[in-house]
């Protein structure tokens, strides 16, 4: 599983070539690797933008307007629901299941950094910052520079920041 994050950190998603590369390194078949890659939602099989925005619409978030936040994200990014990424390549949007921050609902993650109690207006602001090339400060912790940067952290390729 860490190797899949490594592969994803290179291309922003897992391409056929990436899956074959991982299979070769592990000495197993591409089908075995693909079986794992397709099981987990954090492995992306379609191309992603520079940043991946996850919006939770599970119950606690939905009760407090999570669906509206999701729509605001699509609106601000100028995206249809069936698009992999925004035209400028900055944003991919993903409707998420429970992100484990129900105490700060509605919950949003940008490259897996948490943004708490996000309103539709705030969502539009966040998307605006991302499209302008900025990385907004998360509610807790620090933010990866990009989705690929987040994958490098997930793969354990980078030192733990102090």
């Amino acid at each position: 599983m860490p190797l899949l994050y490594v592969a994803q950190s290179v291309e922003g998603h897992l391409s056929r070539e990436g899956l074959r590369e991982v299979a070769g390194l592990l000495g197993i078949t591409t089908a075995e690797v693909e079986a794992v890659a397709t099981f987990y939602t954090m492995y992306r099989l379609r191309p992603t933008g520079r940043h991946v925005v996850n919006v939770c619409t599970n119950l606690s978030c939905a009760l407090l307007g999570g669906k509206d936040v999701l729509e605001a994200a699509y609106g601000a990014a100028g995206m249809r629901h069936d698009q992999d990424a925004s035209e400028d390549g900055a944003i991919t949007i993903h409707e998420e299941e429970c992100l484990g921050v129900c105490d700060f609902a509605p919950a949003v993650q940008i490259d897996f950094a948490n943004h708490d109690r996000v309103t539709p207006d705030r969502m539009a602001e966040l998307i605006g910052s991302l499209r302008a090339g900025e990385v907004p400060a998360p509610s807790r912790g620090s933010a990866p520079e990009s989705f690929r940067g987040a994958c490098r952290l997930l793969a354990g390729l980078e030192e733990v920041p102090a």
């Binding site: 987990y40 939602t41 119950l59 299941e97 484990g100 897996f112 912790g141 997930l154």
Partner: protein, 431 residues
């Protein structure tokens, strides 16, 4: 009622997230004491304390440790379940953010109890930053000799390995978690054999929840009697409750087991949002049957919640107020199970998908007279028909919402629309 917080007592002090801060508060004293004890005595202590697994099932922790055979010639493993994915649940996240060393200490003591030399912590992938906090704590503990070879100047070696998941609710189920830890698809395994006998890499394994293990250091230092001094006879100790949804102050609150729900809702969380009235709530995450306003004085412990017809689960309370539609909430929850079903068992894979479709039809105004009995039948066909409890969670939503809110379902059919949407539209038109 005066209750001295246990797991959350140092939450106001950010320094406890560091090793020095934790040690200054008496941290790792439990591990030092445990190193003086025989493993059998540690297991007996856990049994005497009555500590029960906080991850949902409430299984006695000491009993679980005691099931691990010591004569197989294989290594034994402690695996920490930090997959926390049950909708509505986020106490493990905050416990680790604020006090990561308490988890490492509890893990180390569990390892001593079962003779484990390598422990694993399985963190859900979405907890990117929390895993970094934990990895930093692990690194610190190695540097200072609390982990690694010869921990605390003893002759015991202990390694702790952090493993990240990649987004799958089912990996909170312990056998699915073990498959995922081995690098496979996270699908549950047939039991028996139970993990205690054949778990990780077919070796004897204990899987414990984060909150469970964080109770262990204090039990070692202060004893089983102290632990039992709060809570109830069969549900001793305190529990973390996450309350979210329509409340004034959502958050994680630590309360003695046996606290009335009213106290969590009104005293801790400030009551229902905007002074509205309570309609329904989940006592332990979306997998536990819904309760209603009638149950406001039910006590929050394993036995009382079971007597009320639900389960304490993870202690994750999600609150719906009078303006929320139960059919829509059920649709949303069942859609979650349909998405997260691992696909192994037909009743779950197909049943959750079909239930989601029928609930969607009802909510969107295309429901038929026959849909309400159909939902009842589907709930019955899903419950207890699959390998693991994921599908039971979906069935619990269906059955409990029908039990308490059948009229609301029928109103959807009669009107040919969601009765609550009309109210919202009128409110919008008026504003």
């Amino acid at each position: 009622m005066t209750f001295e917080p246990r797991l959350t007592r140092d939450w106001d002090d950010p320094s406890v997230a560091t090793l020095d801060g934790y040690v200054a508060k008496g941290g790792y004293e439990g591990l030092r004491s445990a190193l003086e004890e025989e493993p059998g005595d540690l297991i007996q202590l856990a049994k005497d304390s009555g500590l029960r697994g906080r991850g949902g099932a409430g299984f006695p922790t000491g009993l679980k440790w005691g099931f691990v055979p010591q004569d197989t010639g294989k290594p034994t493993y402690v695996v920490v379940n930090f997959d926390e994915s049950e909708p509505g649940t986020c106490n493990n996240r905050e416990l680790v953010e604020r006090d990561p060393h308490r988890l490492l200490e509890g893990t180390a003591i569990a390892a001593l109890a079962i003779g484990c030399r390598t422990a694993f912590i399985y963190v859900r992938g979405e907890y990117l930053w929390q895993a970094l906090v934990l990895q930093r704590a692990i690194d610190e503990a190695y540097t200072r000799g609390y982990l690694g070879s010869g921990i605390c100047d003893s002759d015991v070696d202990l390694d702790v390995v952090l493993h990240r998941g990649a987004g799958a609710y089912i990996c909170g189920e312990e056998t699915a978690l073990l498959n995922s830890l081995e690098g496979l698809r996270g699908q549950p395994r047939l039991r028996p054999p139970f993990p205690a006998v054949e778990g990780l890499y077919d070796c004897p394994t204990v899987v414990n929840n984060v909150e469970t293990l964080m109770n262990v250091p204090d039990i070692v230092v202060r004893g089983a009697e102290w632990f039992r001094s709060v809570g109830t006879e069969k549900s001793p100790g305190s529990k973390m409750f996450t309350i979210s949804g329509k409340v004034e102050r959502p958050g994680n609150y630590e309360l003695p087991l046996g606290t009335p729900f009213r106290s969590l809702l009104e005293d801790a969380a400030g009551g229902v949002l905007g002074g509205r009235s309570l309609k329904a709530w989940t006592p332990g995450g979306s997998s536990t049957p819904l309760l209603t306003a009638e149950h406001i004085d039910v006590m929050l412990d394993y036995e009382s919640i079971a007597a009320a017809g639900s389960l304490l689960g993870t202690g994750a309370v999600m609150v719906l107020d009078e303006s929320d539609c139960v059919v829509e909430a059920a649709r949303r929850m069942v859609a979650f199970y349909a998405h997260e079903s691992c696909g192994k068992c037909t009743p779950c894979r197909e049943g959750t998908w079909w239930a989601m479709r029928v609930l969607g039809r009802l909510e969107d105004g295309y429901g038929r007279e026959a849909d309400v009995p159909l939902m009842t039948e589907m709930g019955g066909n899903i419950m207890f028909r699959a390998f693991c409890a994921l599908a039971d969670g979906a069935a619990a939503v269906i059955e409990s919402s029908l039990e308490h809110f059948r009229d609301e379902y029928q109103e959807h059919v009669r009107l040919g629309r969601c009765p609550f949407e009309a109210v919202e539209e009128l409110a919008e038109a008026a504003s």
